[in-house]
């Protein structure tokens, strides 16, 4: 399990060590794109872009699908799963804070009621 994770991280870091590939991920974060579109955007040959996308795909960061003659690229399943997991962890962090805050606020409310009663006596 640990080794597997390390291998995955190695793939990810290798894939992310290149500025063009980071640019491709950023681009795909905005919208899906074909290899041709990406090649044009980054002023590269089709072959060069295919190689970059291949590395990203290998690392699970990008997924591609060929429809007819066009290969469309989008963010890969790992990237999305990581974001979803992180957001859920972030939600749990705030949810436990807020459950604790409920108790503090409830106490303040009761204290205010008691003080109010004292004042009106």
């Amino acid at each position: 399990m640990v080794q597997y994770t390390t291998a995955r991280l190695d793939d990810s870091f290798a894939a992310l060590s290149d500025a063009t590939r980071r640019g491709v991920l950023e681009q795909l974060g905005r919208a899906d794109a074909s290899i041709t579109e990406l090649a044009e955007k980054f002023h590269m040959t089709l072959t060069g872009m295919k190689k970059h996308v291949g590395v990203l795909e290998q690392a699970g960061l990008v997924a591609t699908e060929k429809v007819g003659r066009v290969r469309t690229c989008k963010l890969g399943p790992r990237r999305l799963a990581e974001e979803t997991a992180w957001i859920e962890a972030y939600r749990q962090l705030w949810a436990s804070r807020f459950d604790a805050l409920d108790k503090v606020v409830e106490e303040l409310k009761q204290k205010e009621t008691v003080d109010g009663l004292k004042r009106s006596e």
Partner: protein, 175 residues
């Protein structure tokens, strides 16, 4: 966001929702069954803030909590953790303080990549809707926070949070 402000039938507690609303912004919402001035007080008086900001389940505790809650004032929260000798400090500056309505502060512990947090308190009948925005300086900054695994709560060195992340990823069927 159809569940905004709804309560969770299993626990009776109000639901906390989180949404990434743009490439550099996260929004957290939660309702409280109290007037806005009381909820606001719990965010702005250090002695009250200390009682909920680091709930027991986090495995961390406050070593100190300083908060000079006025525009231009600073805050500094220092936490200790059983599994870590180094205390962790979170600090920044309040940019805007509008009593019972709105708080804005910076998160400076990570240098320039930190988010600006805006919290609004909106009274709705007997309830107060709290909406918290974390606005990062760039998409890269938010993506970076996500990639680091830190939820901005207590950093990735804290094992408990790591465990939480692992549990969460596993339950989502991540390989």
């Amino acid at each position: 966001m159809d569940s905004k402000g709804a309560s969770d039938p299993t626990s009776g507690k109000n639901r906390t929702t989180v949404e990434r609303t743009s490439e550099r912004e996260l929004v957290v919402t939660r309702s409280f069954n109290a007037p806005a001035r009381l909820v606001f007080a719990a965010w702005t008086k250090p002695e009250l803030l200390m009682r909920w900001w680091a709930p027991k389940s986090f495995g961390v505790s406050f070593l100190s909590c300083e908060a000079d809650v006025r525009a231009g004032g600073t805050y500094r929260f220092v936490f200790g953790h059983a599994a870590s000798e180094q205390p962790m400090a979170f600090f920044g500056r309040y940019i805007e303080v509008t009593p019972h309505k709105r708080l804005v502060w910076t998160n400076d512990e990570d240098g320039k990549g930190g988010a600006v947090t805006t919290v609004t308190f909106e009274e709705r009948g007997a309830e107060t809707l709290v909406v918290l925005h974390d606005l990062y300086p760039s998409k890269e900054a938010l993506d970076g926070a996500i990639a680091s695994g830190s939820t901005g709560g207590f950093g990735e060195t804290f094992e408990q949070l790591d465990e939480l992340l692992v549990t969460t990823s596993t339950s989502l069927g991540r390989s």
